[in-house]
Symmetry: C2
Subunit: 315 residues, 2 copies
């Protein structure tokens, strides 16, 4: 297990800068009044390819050695990592192969193909996905860029919290959703290095709470194919992300499905931004746990904005 | 007819600054590639009360003399002006009475009441609205703040294009939707004073094209209660706004309903921002008329983001 360090984050930030946005930080007087906290929304829904995953993917793709370029890259992903890898591969002009569950939102499939990515569909379980991927990789010889359990990807995601710390001073807390744990691991990597006073919280759907149970049990628990509206958060942690979570995360708060939908709708309505269900999970966690966050300066990673506009959860 | 001038815009900007946001200007590589133009989206959907109308309303409310405060303000509005006047009156702590068509989106009614405004409902036609309002005003003695045909309101709206010109240099064109013409009049007021090289375009639904027909005919034509998805654009121009449009608008482009819906959906999907149908009208006009806008630097006023999330037009 190769654990990335903060020097890798600095190198990643230099490498990916031409290919990603420095996303804005938004505030909302409504949410501040409602929560009693000072909230800073780091808007990765405005990121290239619509999600923070462009950071890790471009870091992996633009760090590839010359001899790997012809075979290109490959991955399996519930959506945003696939988009982002296709975006990054398209930017470098190399092939990109993606295994996606057939249940992934059509908007994400269309976007992968729009960037020139090639999709192989599979069943929705983690095990089915990994089997389909093994076949693909054997056939193409492409470099596997794991959606989160990859030091290049984690170093790339870590540039997000680095920007946030540069944009907003003296944060008491940073909170992000947790699925596989790539973003949270990146937060751990950055914040322990340059903002060690900032507490790191994760938020997770109750219906896919393997990370919360892992933290409580002190050992890695991985569920296969849990069901939640937050489709980016169905995947389990792996050894590398579990390392960061176990070492540095203060707590993992879980929220029910209705709270996720309500929080998502409220952000759309009040802040006029399109966010995915996954990023509504930390917002719901803050709304449901005012005692944890009141009177604190809280950075929230808004992880992405790729939703099927035809299938909104409150309709 | 009292015609505001640029000194009124400067005074308005000073007066309203504590109560409004300087909204950001967003760009989109997708829309730039798609249109061949360089587009700058002035995001008044992020404005207080969710629309540019907060500018004109706060200018009127905070300019009121002491002796008018007890009776407060009153208006009739298809929605955003009502919200904005309620917001401004709430900020100054004075009463706000609003006549609204019963067909106005529930989200707008709720928001007016949330700011402390008092609603009187009426039928959806302009004539019915004006009759209900006359009764209300006689009863309360409140100061009438017209949604657009008011020099205080136009001077306030004009601060939006002033910000835009300060944020983005050398615009070839500014385009905004036209309903009653308050925003467009504000653009005329500002741009003729400080950016006289910038052409001013308006965009209008084909199904509510009285402004386009007026400009072509050279005389004011006012339809009563046209039907369009762009509910903010159903009202007709009046003498003051017609003065600015006739004098300074290069052209008024009209677009069909499906183009409005498609453009709205595309902005949500690609830019991850929530915009109303009204602000999709200029976006649709640019997509439908590439010959007019290609190779130009184009500022687009995104007028607001107040939509009923339960009733989206593509569902």
């Amino acid at each position: 297990m190769q654990i990335p360090d903060y020097k890798d984050v600095l190198a990643a930030h230099e490498r990916i800068r031409p290919w990603i946005h420095q996303t804005p930080v938004l505030t909302s007087s409504y949410f501040n009044e409602r929560t009693g906290a000072e909230l800073f929304f780091k808007c990765e829904n405005f990121q290239k390819a619509g999600a923070f995953k462009a950071r890790g993917a471009t870091n992996a793709v633009f760090g590839l050695p010359q001899e790997s370029l012809a075979a290109g890259v490959a991955t399996h992903s519930s959506g945003n990592h696939a988009l982002s890898l296709a975006y990054a591969a398209g930017a470098r002009g190399i092939p990109c192969h993606v295994v996606m569950p057939h249940t992934a939102p059509q908007a994400k499939k269309d976007a992968v193909m729009g960037y020139g990515g090639q999709i192989t569909e599979c069943e929705a379980s983690t095990s089915a996905r990994e089997a389909a991927f093994a076949e693909l990789q054997a056939r193409t010889g492409a470099d596997f860029v794991h959606p989160y359990n990859d030091p290049r990807v984690i170093a790339g995601q870590a540039t997000c919290s680095r920007e946030l710390v540069q944009q907003v001073s003296e944060l008491d807390v940073v909170i992000a959703p947790i699925g596989g744990g790539g973003m949270i691991s990146g937060c751990c990597l950055t914040l322990t290095a340059i903002a060690p006073e900032t507490a790191i919280y994760a938020a997770e759907p109750q219906q896919a709470d393997d990370a919360a149970r892992s933290l409580k049990a002190g050992r890695l628990i991985a569920d296969d194919a849990p069901q939640t509206i937050a489709d980016g958060l169905k995947v389990p942690m792996k050894d590398l992300t579990w390392h960061f979570v176990r070492e540095h995360v203060t707590d993992i708060l879980t929220v029910d499905e209705q709270s996720i939908i309500d929080a998502m709708r409220l952000v759309w309505q009040r802040m006029k931004i399109v966010i995915e269900p996954s990023c509504a999970v930390p917002v719901a966690a803050i709304l449901n746990n005012p005692n944890v966050f009141a009177n604190k300066r809280v950075g929230i990673i808004i992880t992405g904005g790729n939703v099927d506009l035809e299938r909104l959860p409150w309709q």
